[in-house]
Amino acid sequence: MQARLLPIESVFNRFPRMVRDLARQDGKAIAFVLEGGETGLDRSVIDEIGDPLLHLLRNAVDHGVETPAERLAAGKPAEARAVLSARQAENRIIISVEDDGRGVEPQRMRDAAVRKRLLTAGAASCYIAAVRSGSAELGLIVDGLIGEQEVVIKPMTGMVGRTAGVAGTTILGDRRVSIIVDVPKVVEWLARGAVGGAHAARAARCGRDSVMSELPSAVLPLSPQETARLHVLCDAAVENISHGLTEMFGATMRVTALNVRSVPLSQAGNLLGDPELEVIGIYLAAQGAFSAHLLLLLELPVARQLCDILLEQPPDATQALSDLDLSALAEMGNIAGSFFLNSLAENLDRRIMVTPPEVLHDMAGAAIATVLLDVAAATDAAIVIDAGIEHEGRRLPAWFLTFPQPDDLQELLRTPAEGAR
């Protein structure tokens, strides 16, 4: 290990001249100080770290440090001071760039962000925390920023154990309890179109002139008790699917992340955020004594990934979807959907007929609207049960949408809970 360590000086030494030249160009006076040049750093890091440091220093000289006149006016010495330092702290090397310039003025940053249309004027008056989940990065508007610290997350239990969007709690240094936001869940909600921003993001990504529109709201015409009951029923049904899928395909595949909500008919096409999103859909309907429509929607790349798994191909083997691929997807949807629908109907002690699976390749809105027709005839809001798919612990973004017929849903909700039977 020691053999690969080099003093960080070998990178640092290129900067004094650069800082001097930049300062002269900008008409600024800067005393540039290097500290901790002897700190040892792995050769591979030394190779990589030059450019980021160059950017930080350039930023400090160009934007952080004021001209001598501005400094004098602000009551500071005419000559600015910039320090580039390295030091070891346990098993980390801390490299810092510091200057005594005006720093980053939040208001100027916000103004610039509004000018560049990255933020609306309303959002600019708030604090924004940047979060990331998988490849998605987004900003959450928060009341304030306190700091950063590593915490141990404790799961929530009992009555509040299943609070959506909350990952758990932690006890802070001052013994106060803090609730921790489940960032992946929030990102998922956004991706599913629960909030407007994701739609804009998706539209931007697709490079289309799609519009921002109001997205499905989470207003539920079900009482909290009914919602809870539906959750229990669906959880049991989802357990069944997971058994079915694992048995059939040998892979540990589960349906997860169950969510129950009500969506106004007019917004149903937006359930995935973008009604024009190209999807593969697998459609099943339960007929007879319990009527519901079920649609499994997959974006094309996810459909291909699933085909790799189902047909035991190496990753990325599936490209254009063949008939074999489509029938594999149909079969998976058939199993998952039949297990789910049968499990719901069993609560009513009823037998149902499930139609053969039908595969669609179309715009998401077109698929959803067609499947919703039955429900749409009677009501202006659809109860949507949606869930994702997980394979060996990895989430595959999918939408497993169920639209129960309103009357049958009401009846289902009146069934007694397990213990009462």
């Binding site: 002139d209 799609s210 519009v211 529109s213 106004p264 008919l265 007019s266 917004q267 149903a268 096409g269 937006n270 973008d274 009604p275 024009e276 190209e278 459609y283 309907a285 007929q287 139609t355 053969p356 039908e358 669609l360 179309d362 715009m363 998401a364 809105g365 077109a366 698929a367 959803i368 609207a369 067609t370 919703l372 027709l373 039955d374 749409a376 005839a377 009677a378 202006d380």
Partner: protein, 167 residues
């Protein structure tokens, strides 16, 4: 070609929207078996669009809902005229009505695209409006838009660009 559009108005399932603004564009995204009905008076800069879901109400549904062709078409005409459209100058285009599901296993989805289209056409005839253009049927979904400024209606399918409907 593309006019300056400041106001894009989405028309969701079962909705009916009428605008009297030249900067507006009405847009129904991802029409499957649903039928988009656009009606406009280019001179008066008034336009409207309905997103029809089903041909006619069943016994237990609200017959006045714009999700049904039987209610949406007369209501669209009424609102466009109320907003300043001259009946004699009105132009109409319709799009959608695809049969997205191939099997006719279910009664309510059987031929629903075709049934929606004919119900809309029937209502238009009854209202004395002849569609200048239509892009209906087929197997796949499309989006439909109307630019009120120039009275242009256009359709877009998956992976395709907008195609103008009216000459």
């Amino acid at each position: 070609m593309t006019a300056a559009v400041d106001l894009v108005i989405p028309v969701g399932l079962g909705e009916l929207r009428v605008v009297a603004s030249e900067a507006a564009m009405l847009l129904a995204l991802g029409l499957g078996s649903c039928v988009g009905v656009a009606l406009w008076d280019a001179q008066a800069r008034v336009g409207g669009m309905a997103h029809v879901v089903l041909p006619a109400p069943l016994s237990d549904s609200d017959p006045a809902s714009a999700k049904f062709a039987t209610a949406a078409v007369p209501e669209l005409l009424r609102q466009v005229v109320a907003a300043g459209g001259q009946p004699a100058r009105l132009r109409c285009a319709i799009a959608g009505g695809a049969d997205v599901l191939s099997s006719g296993t279910l009664k309510h989805t059987f031929n629903i695209g075709v049934r929606n289209t004919s119900a809309v056409l029937e209502e238009l005839t009854r209202a004395g409006v002849q569609p200048a253009a239509q892009d209906c049927g087929g197997r796949s979904g499309r989006s439909f838009r109307l630019s009120v400024l120039d009275g242009r209606a256009a359709v877009r399918r998956l992976d395709q660009d907008w195609q103008e409907l009216c000459p």
